[in-house]
Amino acid sequence: MPIFDQGYQHWSGELAGHTWRWMVITRQGVRIGLKNRFVRILLLVAWVPALMLASVLCIWGLLERNSDLIAPFIGILRSLFGPQSVADPQLYRIDVWTICFHYFLQTETRFSLLLLLVIGPNLISKDLRFNALPLYFSRPVRRIDYCLGKLGIITTFPAMILILPCVIAYLFGLLFSLDITIVQDTFGLLLMSVLYGLVIAISAGMLMLALSSLSRNSRHVGLFWLAILMVGAIMATVLEGVDHQQRIHAYRSAAGNVQSRDAIATAEIEASRTDWRPLVSYTADLSRIGQQLLGANQSWEKLSQWLPPNERDVFLLKLVGPQFPWYWSAAVLLILFGLSACILKIQIKSLDRLK
């Protein structure tokens, strides 16, 4: 039987415009990503902290309404947020919410970087390996559409564990507080959380895309990604540790080993305001931006006011993160973003080469 017996029918439908063409690539990539069982498991695990966030916000809402249901949790809340905040929950509402969102986003940042390790390396390297670029660019798809589509894939997955749970937990918090003023107090926090989620997803996504375009071997890309995260974190820790020990040694020599613990803590907090060493770590840079956007440090300061002055600095030193200017981290992230964009521009150009 001739193979064209089924016949060929002409098609007379309408073609869509070019504006949203990148969405096709994103949709297809997300569909393929969700077929990966490991990705699905990782997403489910990453949503567990979201349940905790929603639970704390709901409990705080019930506390504001003096509900008897939360009596078993009062002790835990006092130890977490201090007795004064439990005594007047509405006054400390925004600070408690801020701390909760900050912890949640810090945890989810780690999950999202892991998720990128699973999803990201294949995105462009596999297209290069299977020589798929001519299939894209021989259709009405521009390089910018291709890159946006791939960026869409790689930001969708982190957004699923960073932004979506924030919004859902926020809505639960509203429902359990039954106080309209809470929207006025906390809507800015929601916006900042979403913005922080986008910063993480886009910054890390671009970096991963650039790495993915550098090799046809996805394993190499994955290893490179791990190296960036781990080597950066280890280097930052080592540099900070060495610097910290030098300062401690200097305090002790200067004061004849008689300085109090809280005086050293105060000096350490002061020193951390100009310490550039955490900048070496990519995750520390993301974390610093998060602190700034959410205002976590101010919330910790407010929540620590009930502590005696001599204990406050020790408490803050333990809980607040790096203190160096946030725009240093922003500059590092922007430089990495620009570098990633340049790499993509150079690498996604394979049709204009002589074989």
Partner: protein, 302 residues
């Protein structure tokens, strides 16, 4: 007119891939011939706006290839030469995705993907991962992806490379059917002359990035008025010997004799010799050039 290029030059560093190329192609099935490195693929990529030309202008389907490349790619289907796949998808997703990338809605693209996969004979394999397809199946898959949006012009770049004879014949049959029965214009790039001759009416021959010749294949295969092919009832060397004695040059080719008449002689001479030799002439016609000869004479250095 399908496309025209005027003075198009494209260089890669010190290598000139297209050298002031000017060519016009009519609608229909066009064969693009040329030795390896002659600029066929570069010409196709330039037409599609995939690579920028250094100089020159041109139109494809009435659209400026330098400015309207996205519009051009929406009405052109292209099956590249290399093995290229969208990884981790099954056949129907591959073709449907190709349709969506052109701008078809998801529903239309997948409905159409099923239709064209049936058409190219991959209906049974539509749910298999494309990585598992054979070389011939991958070529047909690329063809299906190229025609999913029903393009006005289909460009096939070396479509039969690496295919077994049966698969090659099937692909040529599909290309012929699309070009001759379905009203789709075709640009068929190949260095396999029989493939081009089997599918195309017109041919463009490139060499070193320049146009060597172009035109209707039947017209290019010129009729030789002084050269004839003759087949006798019984093969006999005496017939050829006698013609040579009369000043002709004769050369045996398979079951035929190729005879060049001398100046002033007419084909009547064949009948006279046959009568003298008691032979029956079963076949007599003026010889026409083969496409191979046209190609070789075009690419031969002058």
């Amino acid at each position: 007119m399908l496309f025209q290029l005027q003075d198009v030059t494209k260089t890669y560093g010190s290598i000139t891939a297209l050298d002031s190329l000017s060519v016009t192609a009519p609608n229909g099935a066009i064969g693009l011939l040329g030795p390896n490195g002659s600029g066929k693929t570069t010409m196709i990529r330039t037409l599609l706006g995939l690579i920028p030309a250094d100089r020159g202008s041109g139109e494809i389907l009435g659209m400026d290839f330098r400015r309207q490349h996205l519009d051009i790619r929406a009405v052109v289907g292209f099956a590249p030469e290399d093995e290229c796949l969208f990884p981790r998808v099954v056949g129907v997703e591959f073709v449907g995705y190709a349709g969506e990338l052109v701008g078809m809605s998801h529903k239309d693209a997948f409905q159409r993907a099923h239709e064209v996969l049936d058409y190219v004979g991959l209906g049974e394999a539509r749910y298999r991962a494309v990585e598992t397809y054979s070389a011939g199946m991958k070529q047909r898959l690329k063809l299906a992806a190229a025609i999913v949006h029903d393009p006005q012009l289909l460009i096939l770049d070396e479509p039969t490379n690496g295919m077994d004879p049966a698969g090659r014949e099937e692909l040529l049959e599909l290309a012929r059917d699309l070009a001759h029965n379905k009203g789709m214009s075709l640009l068929f790039s190949s260095h396999l002359l029989p493939d081009v001759e089997a599918v195309c009416e017109h041919v463009i021959v490139l060499g070193d990035g320049k146009l060597l010749t172009s035109g209707n294949i039947q017209q290019l295969k010129q009729i030789h008025t002084r050269c004839f092919e003759i087949r006798l009832k019984a093969s006999d060397s005496k017939f050829a010997d006698r013609l040579m004695a009369l000043g002709c040059s004769a050369e045996a080719r398979d079951d035929r004799i190729l005879v060049h008449l001398p100046e002033g002689a007419s084909p009547q001479i064949f009948w006279e010799v046959a009568r003298d030799q008691q032979q029956q002439i079963r076949f007599l016609r003026p010889r026409s050039s083969t496409l191979e000869e046209v190609f070789l004479s075009a690419v031969e250095p002058q």
